[in-house]
Symmetry: C2
Subunit: 478 residues, 2 copies
């Protein structure tokens, strides 16, 4: 039985979702506040998750030819101002360095909020001919955006991410790359984080500052609010023209390049918490969990127990699992609760009776199902159980998404759904900004995306009643 003392410190999800989230972040030791207001400290358990995100995504990027680089952390103001829409979008939320080496700077520099300007400046230097294209670059860094209200992982003044930036000879190739990277984000999010997503395009109102088209994957959190999970932008030639990134094509004509960028951030640790967590704490999908298995000896002072636990731990390590043995002096109940708070996918209990019977007891974190497995089959069965847990967690999250995706044909209906049942609402839209503004003002509802998979709910815009052009996913969002 899990130790109540540890569990009781987490506010129940139903009582106060925001407090539940904060409690889980704290109890699972993922993240902490810092003396730098609005900034976060990512603790070892949180950073180990991010390391797994990075390793998998980096491999997926590289398989498509992407190479990593490091651009400067600071951007001179004149460089930031070269692309009009971009600077308008970011200027309100940047941090400015105005002094360096005990002198006032001649030109102030902002801490990068994103690095399109620096990449374009670089591309302008190295791209001369069609032979230099495409350039497929990425960097793993942190960026600063001066947010007013902050929440761990979801909205902080600094967050970690990767930002990919590519330039191409043709519009078709750039569009293809934009969608390719969105699909990598979607695959990673679904296959590793076990979070189902809706893929689609952002409206003009919601797109990235300076982009021609922004694509997004959107997920649903356990409180029914949407979270934007990753975005991929097609800039067309706008940045290329502003930064003079040109190439001599095969036909001997000087042409501007076509550019894309795409980003995935530490907010996806927040998503992991809010999609899978429960009142006992975190629940990590096995494929992404830094520790997949926690071995807990029962009555560990009895002869042979600790030895057997160590032996099984070694067997599992050799089989390639990420496993830890908790041989501390704490009670089994405390260890169970600790493992649950931290979301370790599988607990293996091993006591004198188990040793006598020749089996261990596997306890899944997601369902708490107990499975007896004989010592001989341990590694093989553990693999199967973890695989099943991964699939079941995705299935459970998919069911939640389906159950919380509704359709509406009137605005009243939409607002009612969002207020009561929560979740996504599929509804038709005329395509004009005014209707989006109205929904935002009246009910705090925003367009999440125009999904690639279009359906016809009705033939009229849910807001103004004029002829509809698109079906849109709407909702309240983080």
């Amino acid at each position: 039985m899990a130790d109540k003392k540890l569990v009781e410190q987490i506010t129940p999800m139903e009582e106060d979702f925001a407090q539940w989230y904060t409690d889980v972040v704290k109890k699972a030791e993922l993240c902490d506040y810092s003396s730098a207001k609005g900034f976060m400290i990512i603790r070892p358990a949180g950073y180990a998750l991010w390391e797994n995100y990075m390793a998998i995504l980096d491999r997926m990027f590289k398989e498509t030819g992407v190479q990593n680089v490091a651009m400067p952390m600071l951007i001179p103001e004149s460089l930031l101002q070269k692309e009009k829409d971009h600077v308008e979008g970011f200027a309100p939320e940047v941090a400015w360095v105005t002094e360096g080496g005990q002198k006032k700077l001649e030109e102030r520099m902002c801490v990068r909020p994103t690095s399109e300007t620096l990449f374009c400046d670089y591309f302008a230097k190295v791209v001369k001919s069609y032979r230099d294209l495409p350039q497929l670059l990425n960097q793993w860094v942190s960026v600063v955006r001066w947010e007013k209200t902050t929440r761990p992982f979801l909205r902080t003044r600094e967050f970690l991410w990767q930002e990919g930036h590519t330039v191409h000879a043709t519009a078709e190739e750039a569009e293809e790359r934009t969608i390719q990277m969105l699909n990598i984000y979607a695959d990673f999010t679904e296959q590793y984080l076990a979070i189902p997503v809706v893929r689609g395009q952002k409206t003009e109102k919601e797109k990235f500052a300076g982009a021609v088209a922004t694509y997004t994957i959107e997920a649903l959190m356990h409180d029914g609010q949407a979270l934007q999970c990753g975005t991929s932008h097609n800039f067309g030639c706008d940045f290329a023209k502003a930064f003079n990134v040109q190439f001599l094509d095969k036909d001997n004509q000087l042409k501007p390049v076509y550019e894309t960028s795409w980003g995935y951030t530490t907010r996806m640790i927040g998503a992991l918490i809010m999609v899978h967590g429960d009142d006992s704490g975190l629940k990590l999908p096995p494929r992404i969990a830094p520790t997949q298995i926690c071995v807990v000896p029962i009555q560990q002072r009895k002869e042979g127990v600790l030895e057997k636990a160590q032996e099984l731990t070694e067997v599992l390590k050799k089989a390639g699992f990420r496993v830890k043995l908790d041989d501390s002096e704490k009670s089994p109940g405390f260890k169970f609760a600790d493992q649950e708070v931290r979301g370790i996918p599988l607990r293996i209990e091993i006591g004198p009776k188990d040793i006598e019977a020749g089996h261990a007891v596997l306890v899944r974190r997601d369902t708490r199902e107990k499975i007896q497995v004989s010592f001989e089959n341990l590694a093989e069965e553990t693999g199967k159980v973890l695989e099943q847990e991964q699939n079941d967690m995705f299935a459970a999250a998919s069911k939640f998404l389906t159950d919380h995706t509704s359709s509406a044909t009137t605005m009243d209906e939409m607002v009612d759904i969002v207020n009561t049942k929560k979740g996504f609402v599929k509804a038709m839209w005329c395509g004009c900004r005014e209707c989006e503004d109205k929904l935002k003002e009246m009910a705090g509802i925003t367009s999440r995306c125009i999904p690639f998979k279009q359906e016809t709910i009705s033939d009229k815009c849910v807001v103004c009643g004029k002829p509809a052009t698109k079906m849109v996913y709407w909702g309240r969002a983080y």
Copy 2:
């Protein structure tokens, strides 16, 4: 034969070492300048090197129990000022953020020049009892120090590094960890970068701001100047007292912790260039090279040549080598020069005559030695040749270090050696700051380290003639 056109763009080392260095950095496409003055762009070839550094060091750190975290990028001024020596050391070279979100900040924040203050602030929160010790943390980030004159990799306003920070219950354990991490740096530098180092302690004058003791590894560049390669600091209790990091010990007494920090930076890419490079470009040791082998087809349009080159490339890939096939339309001569500039350790030439004879020709980058290897033994022999090249590169660098390490018993002798023969000078020292200052002022010579392996050169200080207490490595340094 290597194509002269490509090679001629590199200034000969003997003619102008600084220009040679800049040329190699540029031609090998490691790094580029940026519109952010004094900052650098690390290009794909340079960053791929750093990725290898990171992967190996990170594994070595983790094997000793170190975990990674992410601390904020910005430090509030009040936090920076808590430890007196530390702030005095860093205040002159920090960059200040004074505005954020279109408002002047109530308290300005500096971009981290190093993060002792943030780690201490964190340790003060999480360390309560001896059970919470040791804390062994590290982060892979970039830091900003407002340098006046800059050179790619060696001295830039921003550089990438890792900074490890640990706290311990006893002085002995902290000292042990400080030395342990220095030895990891030394092992990595010697075994992977093939750069021999001298291990020792910094003098009071040269130690880190706020440290009780700083340990260092020092290497010799091809121009005879020294480079500090990695440092490890023991802070004793000074930071703990300034930041109130205390723990309840087993004896129920509240005690301050003992702290260490240690860092290794992208300047070690500069060291790699300056220790191994030659007038044809970069020379990468096989163990650290992102691409170890470049396969170059000769007369590649002749039937069967490209196919055989592809086949051999696949064989080598499967055997675990990092290999690239250069099947571009450029001439073999151009490809050879390109491979040499980029420092790829091994070139494999394969043409119609080779195919007929059933062998490939392996050409080492370091010695340009040509070795015929039959197709059947290719993978095995390639492994042996690369291993030999790694060892030979270390041996050559070690010989250079020995040949350029002299002893001196008088100041005139020391200055003469540094001016003519260059390199390290071993000489005795009384231990006082004034003698160090004098050598710096008169000849630009600094103490590099008090080596762990002490020798007796004479019994008098090389500067003042008073009784000597230590033997010191002296030299001019980057």
